[in-house]
């Protein structure tokens, strides 16, 4: 639990403001978008083709939510046609470390989890 300016943040608490933040981080597309933007500013079309399986609508919603959270910056260049690039803000960059630890764990332990699922589904795990 963190205390900032006398306010205690506790994710277990229903009305704690850190809870929606945790949910934003946990969003299925957030981590994937971060993995692209950590390399530098990227255009929408580039992000879309890099994050496999995301629809334009959902990617737009995700980027807008991240921009609203102050994690991603949207920069418009006055060209013809206008060029729009997305990049991580300083706050966004500070989230890279935590996200990387989760991502690394996921990639490293995916095989164990898939194996556990198979055992569970075939009932070899727990006869009760």
């Amino acid at each position: 639990m963190e205390t900032i300016d006398g306010v205690r943040f506790d994710v277990l608490s229903l009305d704690c403001p850190s809870r929606p933040v945790l949910q934003r981080i946990g969003d299925k597309w957030t981590t994937l978008v971060f993995m692209i933007l950590k390399e530098g500013p990227r255009r929408f079309s580039v992000i879309r083709s890099s994050v496999q399986g995301v629809t334009p609508k959902v990617l737009t919603q995700t980027l807008r939510a991240l921009e609203r959270d102050g994690l991603v910056n949207r920069q418009i260049y006055a060209e013809v046609p206008p060029r729009v690039e997305y990049s991580l803000t300083d706050l966004g960059v500070s989230l890279l470390g935590p996200l990387e630890t989760v991502r690394t764990w996921a990639e490293r332990n995916a095989a164990s989890i898939l194996s556990a699922r198979e055992d569970y589904d075939t009932g070899t795990d727990d006869p009760t």
Copy 2:
């Protein structure tokens, strides 16, 4: 990207097995349940009262999914009435570190994010 037994795990890839794993970790209740179980085995009723806002149905689904993933163990004690306790498996314990870094970040930066949201919603941030 991790390579295990010659298989490359890459979360950005649509069919990578690490992607559903990442989504499980990102589930809004997973982190909260882990914060309870890291203290030791707990009964359903105790978890429920500790994780504010979760319904019995959703908590049941969450625990079952975590059990299926091999992250949580369900132990039944032959008492009258039977006692059921949930605890983290070794695999679950290995996930505690990554989850803690995310949780700490969320609690530490919740205020910045809430402030960014306010700026965004009142339009003081970006007039475009």
